[in-house]
């Protein structure tokens, strides 16, 4: 199993804990990744809203670079990257006018994009390519007793529900259960975290983060597991402001990959739990048979 790897800007910046924990986990499971050379920003959701043609060309450049690696599948862990690359792919294949714009732009830098690379999310790869059985075999320190609220955010299931249900995704639930954790049932799995509104319209944005954190605590969760750098940032970084405006709702928010590393018994520099603002204090015991 080998995938072209598109980290995206977040995974090199605020979301570095995601990359730092995900890559060792994939290696541990025998999944090979090859980082695409000279990749550029996917444009995120903001650029699409400003200029679809240019945004699509920017995203398609990454698809073209991925095609050049000869690998048929591409891993995009960041939710925004995953959505935008998928969207660009759809646009190229469904709208001939858009394909013409993109082809001209790529042509000017000597690139071509067929538009047939499968853009995959790590959850999709872990569940459907690696499989839960293989993951369970690697669990040496099951997360017994850890109550986790699985948080998917909006972008990996909307508008394209490619590998999970749109309204009630369950892939991370299954993954966390395989790690031995207790999955908390909460109905806010795909409710918006506030996105970039936390920066531009804090009153509205922070309120959405507050609702998520409060409900997770209320349902007895010890930690929120997420798949998205922006969600993780919003839920982890604004506790002081939220406490000042409403009430303290302190609960750690980590990437699912960090919990996987923890359950696999990977060293601390590969689970990078110290990067969280609200620390997760949980030491899983070795499995009885291990």
């Amino acid at each position: 199993m080998k995938y072209a790897y598109f980290p995206g800007c977040s995974l090199k910046g605020t979301g570095r804990a995601y990359e730092e924990s995900l890559l060792p986990v994939l290696r541990h499971l025998g999944v090979e990744v090859q980082e695409i050379e000279d990749w550029n920003c996917c444009g995120a959701t903001a650029y699409m809203a400003v200029d679809e043609g240019k945004a699509c060309a920017a995203a398609a450049r990454n698809l073209a670079l991925a095609e050049r690696t000869g690998l048929r599948q591409m891993l995009a862990p960041c939710s925004a990257c995953y959505l935008v690359l998928n969207k660009a792919q759809h646009y190229l294949n469904e709208y001939p006018a858009m394909r013409r714009v993109v082809t001209r732009a790529l042509d000017s830098v000597g690139l071509q994009c067929r538009g047939d690379t499968a853009v995959r999310h790590p959850l999709d790869v872990l569940l459907h390519d690696v499989g839960l059985d293989a993951i369970k075999q690697k669990v040496t320190r099951p997360l017994t007793g850890l109550k986790v609220a699985p948080y998917y955010g909006c972008q990996i299931v909307r508008p394209y529900a490619t590998f999970d249900d749109q309204a009630n995704p369950e892939s991370m639930d299954k993954l966390l259960a395989a790690l031995g954790a207790t999955v908390v049932r909460w109905p806010l799995k795909t409710k918006c975290c506030g996105g970039s509104l936390t920066g531009t319209l804090p009153e509205a944005g922070l309120r959405l983060s507050y609702i998520l954190l409060k409900e997770a605590l209320k349902r007895g969760a010890d930690v929120i597991a997420t798949v998205c750098p922006l969600c993780q940032f919003n839920l982890d970084s604004y506790h002081a402001k939220i406490a000042a405006r409403w009430e303290p709702v302190r609960i750690p928010t980590v990437y699912f990959s960090q919990l996987m590393g923890l359950a696999f018994g990977l060293p601390a520099e590969q689970t990078v739990l110290h990067r969280g603002m609200v620390p997760l204090r949980f030491e899983p015991a070795p499995a009885a048979h291990a």
Binding site: D165, Q166, A167, N168, W186, P187, L188, I211, E215, K218
Partner: protein
């Protein structure tokens, strides 16, 4: 009259069909072109060929110009081939000296370029001119119709159709899959908009079916095979083992009272699983026939492991107190097996109904997640006096601290669940607005709760329906326009704690609202049954892209199918309410009666026959025939075709290695000259 190529005198007519054809096809130009072709003695264009003057024109021309072939270029032969054949016959010609060209559905309606469409019309016309010269006179055969009728499905549609036919003196077989007739209607509490009790109006008809001398009622039975053709169908029906001899069971139900299970334990299908039944049971008090059945899945006298073919194995482990209770009547028989019966009928009415949309497919509405989310059908049982709670509306979820069941004080009814939605079903299910309002009224009556209806549009097209809506508005039921986003249990305020919160954009007020309620009712839509595709193949019917069985014409042949002698009624054709279903069932019965009372059907002579001298007796055609119309004469070692069974599909014609099978109207020279005609046009 025998016409050779030399004597051919063709009359050609191109129809404008108002603007339908003339807008895209230059009809006079087509007529002028065809007039130059060999054999054509007369070529005209005319505004409406199907009109009486149009038909008279043909007849007059046949006489005056001694025409012996006629070609009309107009609409689809499905619509008017019969009209023109009759006109040609009235003019004194054999009707099969006529040929029709479709320049409407195949040309003007599907193209946008007038010049190219005109050229296409000319090419198609030329093909027909070449072909018609080779036509031969043929004879329409008459085949008698078997007077018995098969009605498939014992819901209100099947019941009404069967009774109509039986009252007209026809013998009817009514085959129903479930152990009792009654269908969905038997489960409803009241019916809209009059609020008369569903059971009160349905059960008299059910018992009439049960006791009617002209109706053979087979419940717990399924049609497994249909052979034959209009007027002469042979049908195989599987009568599933109910482990009870229907003729011996008196319906006393002593066996149920004496079952080793003292209390009912298993989910009761009739009550949507809200109630319980025993392994030996009768579906509901008014079930017809009044015959119990035994569920081998849970009865202790059967093993849990089945035979390799799926049939149950008797364990004989039970004390069989039911058999004791039955005593001398001896109706219980654990060794009963499924039984195949063969019947002969002339016509078939399919009334197989619908299934309700599975609310689990919209997880955002929480059915199966939150116990207090219900489907509308569950509520029908819950408010029913003979339902699992005796008509008391209590919640399925956590009980009061003192152990009594909670009663809802606020109820939200969500319309259009699984309807009018690109993600599920596109269509409007037609009955949900009305039944939602009926349930709103009944729930208010039973509980006094605040009721909220969440709707996209209120659709009340029916007699007294809009008035019913107004009544509900006056009763103080709340109506909120907006498709509900989700039903959830995360509370934002103390008032929301422990409630189900309905999140919805109120599109009239222009705000997003959160409405906490105790109970949510999902107005699930109607959809084709899961096995509709198999049923469709069984009866050789068509279906639309949505899966509903297709009527022959949406306006003018609403109960006919594309298979002669097979009719449709009720929701298997599309969502409809009880009045429409009954009207359609009556119409289907009338169509069947019209066929039966005429006594015969005319058979298209487009059948195949085998040239005796050339048949090598290889038998390769025999297994290919879908209608088992080809037989083999052992003494002469030749195959021959039963023309009464042949449907003119042409499969054998194409497959015969020696080319010795010929099909009327599709003979080699007819087909080849038609192809030549299209190709010769440039």
């Amino acid at each position: 009259m025998k016409a050779t190529r030399d004597e051919v005198r063709i009359g050609f007519y191109v129809c404008h069909c108002g603007h339908n054809i003339a807008a895209l096809v230059d009809c006079p130009a087509v007529a002028r072109y065809v007039g130059t072709l060999p054999g054509v003695v007369l070529s005209r264009d005319y505004k409406y060929m199907c009109s009486d003057p149009g038909q008279e024109l043909i007849q007059q021309d046949i006489r005056e110009h001694r025409l012996n072939r006629v070609v009309v270029a107009s609409c689809s032969p499905l619509l008017h081939e019969h009209t023109f054949r009759s006109a040609v016959e009235a003019g004194g010609l054999n009707p099969f000296y006529f040929h029709m060209v479709n320049i409407r559905e195949h040309d003007s309606w599907v193209h946008t370029d007038r010049i190219l469409a005109t050229e296409k019309a000319k090419a198609l016309a030329r093909a027909a001119i070449e072909r018609v010269a080779h036509h031969k006179p043929l004879e329409i055969k008459k085949v008698p119709i078997h007077p018995d009728v098969l009605v498939v499905g014992g819901g209100i549609a099947g019941i009404h159709a069967a009774l109509t036919l039986a009252n007209a003196g026809k013998k009817v077989y009514l085959v129903e899959r479930e152990p009792s007739i009654g269908g969905h209607m038997a489960r409803f509490d009241k019916t809209f908009p009059t609020l008369d009790c569903a059971a009160c109006i349905l059960t008299p008809k059910m018992s009439e079916v049960g006791s009617h001398p002209n109706i053979t009622l087979w419940t717990y039975s399924e049609v497994v095979k249909v052979d034959g053709y209009v007027g002469n169908y042979t049908v195989q029906v599987k009568r599933k083992a109910r482990y009870i001899h229907e003729d011996l069971c008196t319906g006393c139900q002593d066996c149920i009272a004496n079952c080793v299970y003292k209390e009912p334990k298993f989910a009761d299908e009739f009550n949507e699983g809200l109630g319980k039944r025993k392994p030996v049971f009768i579906p509901f008090p008014q079930a017809t026939p009044q015959v119990v059945l035994i569920d081998p899945e849970v009865c202790l006298n059967f093993k849990r492991n089945k035979n390799p073919d799926g049939t149950p194995v008797v364990s004989d482990k039970c004390k069989k107190t039911c058999v004791e209770a039955c005593g001398e009547r001896g109706a219980i028989d654990f060794t009963q097996k499924d039984e195949l019966r063969e019947i002969r009928v002339g016509t078939i009415i399919v009334c197989t109904g619908f299934q309700t949309f599975d609310a689990r497919r919209v997880p955002a509405y929480g059915y199966g997640i939150y116990p207090n989310v219900y489907t509308a059908l569950e509520i029908e049982r819950l408010v029913n006096a003979s339902g699992p709670t005796g008509g008391e509306v209590v919640l399925r979820g956590p009980k009061n601290p003192d152990g009594t069941p909670r009663k809802p004080r606020s109820i939200g009814i969500i319309h259009c669940v699984g309807s009018r939605d690109k993600k599920t079903n596109l269509w409007c299910s037609r009955v949900c607005c009305m039944y939602s309002m009926k349930l709103a009224h009944l729930l208010k009556e039973h509980t006094g709760a605040e009721i909220y209806n969440f709707y996209i549009d209120i659709r009340t097209p029916g007699k007294g329906y809009e008035e019913f809506y107004n009544k509900l508005l006056e009763e103080g039921t709340h109506f909120i326009r907006g498709r509900v986003g989700e039903v959830t249990d995360w509370a934002m305020t103390p008032e929301e704690e422990g409630k189900l919160v309905i999140r919805v954009e109120d599109t009239l007020a222009g705000v997003v609202r959160r409405i906490p309620v105790d109970m949510v009712v999902l107005a699930t839509g109607l959809e084709p049954r899961a096995d509709a595709a198999e049923v469709r193949r069984l009866f050789n019917m068509s279906c639309g892209g949505d899966g509903w069985f297709l009527e022959r014409h949406p306006k003018l042949a609403p109960v006919n199918t594309f298979t002669d002698g097979v009719f449709l009624a009720g929701c298997c054709q599309g969502p409809k309410d009880i009045p429409d279903t009954v009207a359609q069932a009556g119409a289907a019965a009338a169509e069947a009666l019209a066929l039966i009372d005429r006594g015969y059907v005319e058979q298209e002579p487009n059948t195949a026959h085998i040239l005796d001298n050339e048949c090598s007796g290889c038998k390769s055609c025999i297994p290919l025939c879908p209608y088992t119309a080809i037989l083999f004469d052992e003494t002469r070692q030749k195959a021959y075709i039963n023309e009464a069974l042949c449907k003119g599909c042409g499969t054998c014609v194409g497959s015969c290695p020696s080319g010795s099978i010929v099909q009327n109207l599709f003979e080699d020279e007819e087909i080849f000259s038609e192809i030549r005609g299209v190709l010769a046009y440039d």
